[in-house]
Amino acid sequence: MASARLQIPPRVTQGDVFKIRLLVNHPMDSGFLRDIDGVLIQRNVIRHLLCTLNGREVFRVEPTTGVSANPLFEFYLRATESGEMLFRWVDDKAYIGELRHNLVVEAANASKPSGN
């Protein structure tokens, strides 16, 4: 099963603030609804989702039953360093979902010519 979709700019330059979009495969069962046979569907929502860059947390969201199924999260990040981005989420059933992305941050173009 597909776990998540990530949209991130293919190139980012040092100092840029860029947008990240993450669409996660999760039913976010609220525990309030019943299935077609009238049986209550047990609650199972993502407890937390975090994004780390080189092991450092750069984004966290703690959704509740109030977030839609197959949740979408859009947030921003300032480009400071290249490295491994890890998206990791845990739900009520202690299932761990993960998505990795290799972030490449290019050096900003030097606008001043060197020397005189």
């Binding site: 609220s30 309030f32 984004f59 703690e62 039953t65 109030g66 977030v67 839609s68 859009e74 300032r78």
Partner: protein, 170 residues
Amino acid sequence: MMSPVFSRRQSIAQLLKTVLAASMGTFFSGAAKAQVDKLTITGLAEARLRTFEEMVRPYVQNQELKKEGVSLSLPMLADNGHMVPLSLKIDSPMTDAEHITHVYLISQRNPVPLMAKFVLGPWSGRADLSTRVRLSGNQNVIALARRSDGNFIYDLQEVVVTEAACVDNG
């Protein structure tokens, strides 16, 4: 696997229940308005709308709260309460000295008042966010942001949530 088909008896019983609840609702007196409808009867929404105070107090406590700097964007009329696009923009330099630390999305009627909590910092660069929320009936939604100085700013928007005419459990 057959879907449940409403019998005439069930339909009449449901109608009577709704009429009874609605008439009870008109007699309800108190600081907060009561809204009785199918969502309330089935336990999917609170009968009494939360007050503004009840919604923000758990987070703001004794800190300063101002309605500024936050721009919450939701449709005025949502097609369906299961998936309502929500986005917000916050005016903040997001520097080490001055940034947003947390953003709370709070519902007035959902069974669970807090819809999501976001943790940000100067590394975020921008305190703009988007997601999709569930809204259980017509209500106000609050986006509450905590600043690095400990004070809070917010925005509020009213959303009307329409429902399908044909009702079923799916």
